[in-house]
């Protein structure tokens, strides 16, 4: 459980981090909370030769409302799961997100892991990405060429792959505020601190896209339950919509469950989530 040798650099600002990434190229990796990256390094599944630690950039840890338009919550990429879970602002404006953060791993993980790390890691088994998909969040990244915004829908591109470039830093997550809107999170796991075997994040937004439903661990990447959302937009009953939960998914088979079982779970859990969210 000793990682391969690596160099360690600490960045004190986003610009410095971008510069260090530019210098070291493909061999460098950003280090935030370390709770996804370090386990992989200890198992020697990841062997970056340089770690650029952004964990102490204080001004990337915040939750605030867009000054001009209170309808969007801005969350700094280094905001820890615990801070997200306990933020009054998040609990009022996007209660789904606060709740999902509170269900991640154990207290130690929640005090170290960051929302940015969770998003950029792009693990389909992670909880926050599914919630951000359901909430139709936007990811703000900055690189040598400046800043760009990527909708969550376009961000997760494959297994542990995202649309961020190796020399970019995720700085902010923008989440439309949904105070008072029904929501639910169904995390199905065996033990309290476990990852989800299957998870479902649902928020009953009306307006443009209609209700949002995100799925955890139902394919190579975090994904939305497109069939369910479509059915709901078309006015289907909750049960009818839930029956389409596994549409377009490609769930894994592993020790915790077969693909067939995960498909079944997705249908049950989506139905429960929709019932709770509209209850």
């Amino acid at each position: 459980m000793i990682p391969a040798p690596f160099d360690y650099q600490r960045a004190s600002s986003v610009d410095e981090a971008i510069e260090l990434l530019r210098q070291h190229g493909e061999d460098a990796k950003l280090l935030a909370g370390g709770h996804s990256l370090l386990p992989l390094m200890k198992l020697r599944l990841a062997q970056p030769s340089v770690l650029v630690d952004i964990g102490r950039i204080a001004d990337l840890s915040y939750v605030s409302e867009t000054p001009a338009d209170g309808r969007v919550l801005r969350i700094g990429a280094l905001t820890r799961h615990h801070d997200l879970a306990t933020s009054e602002l998040v609990r009022e404006q996007v209660p789904l997100l606060a709740h999902v953060a509170s269900r991640i791993g154990d207290p130690q993980v929640r005090h170290r892991g960051t929302i940015g790390g969770s998003v950029v890691h792009g693990d389909p088994a992670s909880d926050l990405p599914a919630a951000l998909l359901a909430l139709r969040a936007t990811l703000v990244v900055r690189g040598p060429a400046g800043e760009r915004s990527i909708p969550a829908d376009e961000f997760f591109t494959g297994f542990l792959e995202t649309a961020i470039a190796p020399d970019e830093v995720l700085t902010e997550i923008r989440v439309p505020a949904v105070p008072g809107v029904g929501w639910a999170f169904e995390k199905f796991n065996r033990r309290a601190q476990d990852w989800a075997i299957v998870g479902v994040a649902a928020v009953m937004t009306d307006g443009a896209g209609g209700p949002g439903v995100g799925l955890v661990n139902m394919g190579p990447q975090p994904m939305r339950a497109a069939g369910v959302e479509e059915a709901l937009r078309a006015g289907a009953s909750l049960g009818e919509a839930a029956a389409r939960a596994d549409e377009g998914t490609d769930p894994p088979t592993d020790l915790n469950g077969s693909a067939e079982y995960r498909r079944h779970l997705a249908r049950v859990l989506v139905r429960r989530a929709l019932e709770t969210a509209s209850g």
């Binding site: 000793i2 040798p5 065996r190 033990r191 309290a192 601190q193 779970l265």
Partner: protein, 759 residues
């Protein structure tokens, strides 16, 4: 009032909880100065011919002092348990037999340099077909030891017990079931660790073990040394659960490495090494056949066992004998037969894990009794009532051949049922079923009896020394041949000594786990430490008191027989005249002796048989298969209890691990023999969050086997809770037509069982 039977808090805890513990990796000792760090290179292939190991590149890595391959180690291989021909080399020589088997070892100046160099060792293996699972092993198509001619390690018992006309086959009602008692990992929080140094001609080894003397003897055998020239020290040990009873090859080869390089060598494994290369437990496949009458009388029972011993027969090869000895459980069944076959497979070797062979016996018969009850349409508690051995105070010999010391199984069952509110639970279950509640309620009952210290009568040594010093004027040092590693034995021994000497328990210091300080101990396992080690220390304390009493009598100018020790004050005086007396300190000072000391070996006449009954309540989400344990009521009778707090601690831990087997834990290999549960992310160790507050019911039926009247409590919780929870899950699904689900009752298994039964 005696201190015995009171809730004295653990004297060990302040030090351990404040980070004051010294585990093997923490040991700082002049003899270990300049120690090299060993990193083992392990086979990544389950089975294959070892063509060669190229260490050239690794040798050139920074900090590498030496790299050793198997052929260089000129120690005789360790004979297989039960079947000596299936011997195990320290490092694989011409064949690898499981993923994780050590193939080479790298010695480096600093610990972190080891893995970098180890990565560069090239292990050339010609793969052979893996042998995974007992069926594959029994087929004997691929042999692990071609020279032996079979994968069968040992066979015992009655092969045709299930079909014999006087067995279950001849009964009015016959029920059969195949079930898997799955392989488990012990998961001690402290992984394995050892350090070896040659001190002149003497070998000193520090080892994270449950049995320093066992490691001592293994080293003496391996190196052909005079026993006096080997010292083994077990410092603080962070859990063992049976897996650290014996010495592993990695522990035993360190002195050889140290001699080769002329420097001390130390080793700490990683968690993944621990999960793949430390011995596993359980791993039996059962076929039960139970027969009886429609009225619920059980008449005959046959247990067929196939034990997966892993790649090299270790203690695992012996487990079925314990299972067979305990096959009859708590029941008065006249005809009990069993048969066992032990096989080798290309997987991690198997040895003891909390209960070792007995939980398997209980799991088998307790499931069988429930299946039988379902078949005859009677309540499982009622079937148990009709078939339990009645209370006995004289030894009772079962049809399986074990001689139980004392027991009252019906009383344990009734107490557990009453505490659980069994009738009301059944009524609630009926209401829920009636209402079609998708959350099904399951109620599981188990009764158990197990053999501790056994299967043979055990023995242990202890000494007590009273010398001047400390707040009380004297201090007491106690030595025990037991090797506690978290159980709180030092607290219990201090209480026993306090009770007999009248000195405060916190004036007692207990030393253990050092073969130079205690000659000839046996260690801590099999729930043996208090009943044997405690009886030995008690014997020594009584002898020391007797020495002091004789001295006090001289000093008081009285006849020895007239002088008594007041246990409340620790003063000796003439009976009837307490005003004139002598304290321990005064006795020692007046006698001019530096200390009083006695050593005592206690040998039991037979093992003891703790017993009990558990009731588990589960809720099963029938849509997802999710099982939640809601209640666990445990009536455990381990004879006289020296300290209820310690006993409850043992029960809590045991219950947790028993529940874990029923619901969560399982070591898994894929078809190629690759371990899939090599980290804590994949192996589902149970945590407090999954467990309800345990409901403990006390019961004390003393044994005549030792002067304490105590039986062992270390394994009871594990043994009783697994079948109670397992039965509860199956019970929850009974109305849906499900008969049996194998352990662990994972959500997917439960969901499939429901789906298959209802479609």
């Amino acid at each position: 009032m005696s201190i015995l039977g009171t809730r004295v808090v653990r004297v060990e805890d302040p030090r351990l909880l404040t980070g004051g513990g010294t585990y093997t990796a923490d040991v700082r000792d002049p003899r270990l100065e300049g120690a090299l760090h060993a990193t083992f290179v392990r086979s990544a292939v389950a089975h294959g011919a070892l063509r060669g190991v190229d260490v050239d590149e690794a040798r050139r890595m920074p900090g590498v002092v030496d790299v050793v391959v198997g052929a260089e180690v000129d120690l005789p291989p360790v004979p297989g348990t039960v079947n000596r021909a299936m011997a195990r080399p320290y490092l694989a020589v011409d064949r690898v037999r499981f993923v994780g088997e050590p193939v080479a070892v790298v010695l480096t100046e600093r610990p972190e340099q080891g893995p970098d160099a180890a990565e560069l060792v090239v292990v050339d293996v010609d793969p052979l077909p893996p042998v995974v699972g007992t069926d594959a092993a029994l087929a004997d198509e691929t042999l692990l030891f071609p020279e032996v001619g079979t994968n069968l390690v040992a066979e015992a018992g009655a092969p045709d017990g299930a079909t014999a006309p006087d067995g279950p086959a001849g009964c009015e009602v016959v029920v059969r079931q195949r079930m898997v008692n799955q392989r488990l990992a012990a998961c001690p929080l402290e992984v394995r660790s050892s350090a070896a140094a040659w001190d002149g001609g003497r070998l000193v080894v520090w080892c994270s073990t449950q049995n320093a003397h066992g490691v001592h003897d293994a080293l003496v055998r391996a190196y052909g040394l005079d026993p006096a020239d080997v010292r083994v020290i077990a410092p603080d040990v962070g859990g063992g659960f049976g897996a650290k009873i014996g010495a592993h090859p990695e522990d035993l080869v360190l002195p050889w490495l140290a001699r080769r390089v002329g420097r001390p060598v130390r080793w700490v494994e990683t968690r993944t090494e621990n999960m793949t290369a430390m011995v596993h437990g359980r791993a039996q496949v059962h076929e039960v056949t139970i027969g009886g009458r429609r009225d619920g009388t059980i008449e005959a029972y046959h247990l067929d066992i196939v034990q997966d011993a892993g790649a090299y027969p270790a203690m695992g090869a012996y487990l079925p004998r314990l299972t067979q000895a305990m096959a009859a459980g708590t029941y008065a069944v006249d005809r009990v037969t069993s048969r066992s076959r032990v096989v080798v497979t290309t997987t991690t070797p198997v040895a003891s894990y909390r209960g070792a062979g007995r939980p398997e016996a209980t799991a088998a018969i307790e499931r069988a009794v429930d299946l039988f009850a379902a078949e005859v349409g009677l309540d499982p508690a009622e079937v148990r009532r009709r078939n339990l051995v009645p209370r006995f105070d004289e030894p009772h010999t079962t049809a399986a051949g074990a001689t139980y010391d004392t027991g009252d199984y019906p009383a344990a069952l009734e107490r557990a049922l009453a505490a659980a509110g069994y009738e009301e639970l059944r009524a609630e279950q009926a209401r829920r079923r009636e209402a079609g509640d998708p959350i099904a309620l399951g109620i599981g009952v188990s009764t158990y009896v197990e053999v501790t210290t056994g299967p043979y009568a055990g023995s242990e040594v202890g000494w007590v020394e009273v010398r001047p010093g400390g707040d009380a004027g004297v201090e007491v040092v106690v030595g025990t041949g037991a090797s506690p590693h978290g159980q709180g034995l030092a607290t219990a021994l201090a209480m026993l000594v306090s009770h007999h000497t009248g000195l405060p328990h916190d004036a007692v210091r207990v030393v253990h786990g050092d073969t130079d300080l205690v000659a000839g101990g046996t260690g801590t396992f099999g729930s043996r430490s208090l009943q044997l080690g405690g009886s030995a220390v008690r014997g020594a304390a009584v002898e020391v008191v007797e020495q002091a009493r004789r001295l006090a009598a001289e000093q008081l100018e009285a006849a020895a027989d007239d002088v008594v020790l007041d246990p409340a004050t620790g003063r000796f005086h003439v009976a009837g005249t307490p005003a004139v007396g002598r304290t321990w300190a005064e006795v020692l000072a007046a006698a001019g002796v530096p200390a009083l000391r006695a050593e005592h070996t206690f040998t039991a006449t037979q093992p003891t048989y703790p017993f009990g009954a558990h009731v588990a309540v589960v809720e099963v989400d029938t849509e997802t298969g999710d099982v939640r344990l809601r209640r666990l009521v445990a009536c455990d009778d381990a004879g006289r209890i020296v300290n209820p707090l310690l006993a409850e601690g043992q029960r809590h831990g045991g219950l947790a691990q028993g529940v874990a087997q029923a619901l969560y834990e399982q070591v898994v290999f894929d078809d190629d023999g690759n371990p899939l549960t090599a980290t804590f992310a994949d192996y589902a160790v149970v945590s407090a969050a999954e467990l309800p507050s345990f409901e403990l019911v006390d019961m004390e039926t003393p044994t005549f086997v030792n002067p304490l009247g105590a039986k062992g409590i270390g394994e009871s919780g594990t043994i009783g809770s697994t079948p109670a929870v397992h039965n509860a899950v199956c019970d929850a699904l009974a109305h849906l037509g499900v008969r049996h689900v194998d352990m662990p009752c994972t959500p997917e298994r439960v969901w499939r069982a429901i789906r298959d039964a209802t479609r």
